[in-house]
């Protein structure tokens, strides 16, 4: 699906498909710049490759220096770690691997779920410096894709492009005056939508437990305190000024009551529970089909 008349630059990066839509073709130089940012990000944060920066910490305790944007991730994860009482954590990687979602895509549980290690026990993260006192599997996926969306938006703005849509397979940032109609995918049927939002000059992100599933009750949104997949919520959507915040908050909605998040963040939200009922903030009023 594309924007009528717009040019689309499509590529794969950090495990998903990207589409960058602009009114005019992007020059080769800008395309190369975008791909460079994606590669840098993957090489820094991927837990699916041996040569990434964080892979060092999975092998042995130590300190690594992350890219400049790491400070924003640190602040965001720290806040959400506290608001969720440890349920949302960048240390969830080992719990995911335990359930089979590791670099080898074994997709077979290695045993009973294990909680993520406690941040205060193993991790010291301050800006671009991150130290682990034991081997840890970091997974910053909950906010990472969103941050990369924001980083690519910066590249586009730096190149003088004011109107664009960066779409990382459903997590997206829109810039421009013309609103974009976006369908909210039905959590139980990808050929259907449950509503439509109009997105203008902001980010829309989704988190869903419906697709990345690999077995009986196994999916990728885990409670860090237990290491188990969350069963009560099936899909969430958020809008916020940045994709990084929208992305992280979409995951946080699985574990935290929205009013708790609303005390610290400016965002709109829609939460669909596994029994099919939904709750939403005023920003999503009127978007659901009735």
């Amino acid at each position: 699906m594309t924007l009528t008349g717009w040019s689309v630059f499509s590529f794969d990066g950090i495990g998903t498909t990207w589409e960058i839509s602009t009114p005019e073709d992007l020059p080769e130089r800008v395309r190369a710049g975008l791909l460079g940012v994606v590669e840098d990000f993957d090489r820094s944060y991927s837990r699916f490759r041996d040569d990434s920066l964080i892979a060092v910490l999975a092998r042995e305790p130590g300190t690594v220096t992350l890219p400049a944007g790491a400070g924003k991730l640190e602040q965001l994860f720290k806040k959400l770690y506290h608001l969720s009482n440890g349920a949302m954590t960048p240390l969830i990687g080992s719990s995911l691997e335990r359930l089979g979602y590791g670099a080898d895509y074994a997709l077979r549980p290695l045993g009973h779920p294990v909680p993520a290690p406690r941040w205060e026990d193993v991790l010291v993260w301050s800006g671009t410096s991150i130290s682990a006192s034991a081997p840890v599997v970091l997974d910053i996926g909950a906010a990472g894709k969103g941050q990369l969306v924001d980083l690519l938006a910066s590249v586009l703005r730096g190149a003088g492009t004011a109107e664009f849509l960066v779409d990382a397979s459903g997590d997206m940032l829109h810039s421009g005056t013309e609103p974009l109609r976006v369908a909210l995918e039905h959590p139980y049927d990808p050929t259907q939508a449950i509503g439509v939002v109009e997105l203008r000059d902001g980010a829309l992100c989704a988190s869903a437990a419906n697709r990345r599933t690999w077995g009986d009750g196994l999916h990728h949104v885990l409670d860090g305190a237990t290491g188990r997949p969350i069963e009560t919520v099936v899909a969430t959507w958020t809008t916020a000024a940045t994709a990084m915040e929208a992305d992280a908050l979409a995951t946080a909605l699985f574990m935290v009551d929205p009013p708790v998040l609303e005390t610290d963040f400016e965002f709109s939200w829609l939460k669909v529970y596994s029994d099919g009922h939904a709750a939403y903030s005023a920003g999503f009023e009127g978007t659901l089909f009735t």
Binding site: M1, T2, L3, T4, D12, G15, T16, T17, F48, Y105, A106, L107, R108, L165, D167, S169, G170, D171, L180, R181, V182, A183, L184, E185, H186, P187, D189, P190, T191, Q192, A193, I194, V196, V197, L204, A206, S207, A208, R211, R212, W214, G215, A235, W237, P258, S268, G276, H277, A278, A279, Y280, S281, A282, G283, F284, E285, G286, L288, F289, T290
Partner: protein, 139 residues
């Protein structure tokens, strides 16, 4: 969202006045929780009524929908629905109004006019291949 029963009996001056006063104290009002009951004059049939009310905010004209439940000439419940177009107003009204849908309703994607879909539809090839492998091994 809740579907208001639009019986339209209160769409006259009384309905609008009430809507305006509810909107005026917006920040402290609670969405769908029962409000303090208050007597109203005149014989009204018991039931649920709704009306839209207009008010002037610093952003210009805005509309809220108000749904009342009447029992024995007493207001037993008030439910407020926002129709804000202005983002600032949406945020302001959002402080007191969150919504609930009893059940989400699906429509076919090809029957609605959209440019994009937000969900988690696409996953990496590696993941998808691994799932396919497991499925084939399980047969």
């Amino acid at each position: 969202m809740t579907t208001p029963l639009r019986k339209g009996l209160l769409v006259g001056a009384a309905g609008l006045t009430l809507a305006s006063s509810v909107a005026a104290c917006a920040p402290s009002a609670q969405g769908s929780t029962p409000q303090k009951t208050s007597s109203i004059s005149g014989p009204y049939k018991d039931g649920t009524y709704s009306a839209d009310g207009d008010y002037i905010s610093p952003n210009g004209g805005e509309t809220v929908g108000v749904q009342l439940t009447l029992a024995g000439n007493t207001i037993s419940a008030v439910d407020i629905t926002v129709h804000a177009n202005n983002p600032n107003t949406q945020e302001f009204q959002g402080q007191f109004k969150n919504g609930i849908a009893a059940q989400v309703v699906g429509k076919k994607l090809d029957e609605i006019n959209v440019s994009k879909v937000a969900g988690s539809s696409l996953t990496s090839e590696g993941f998808n291949k691994a799932v396919e492998t497991i499925k084939s091994e399980a047969k």
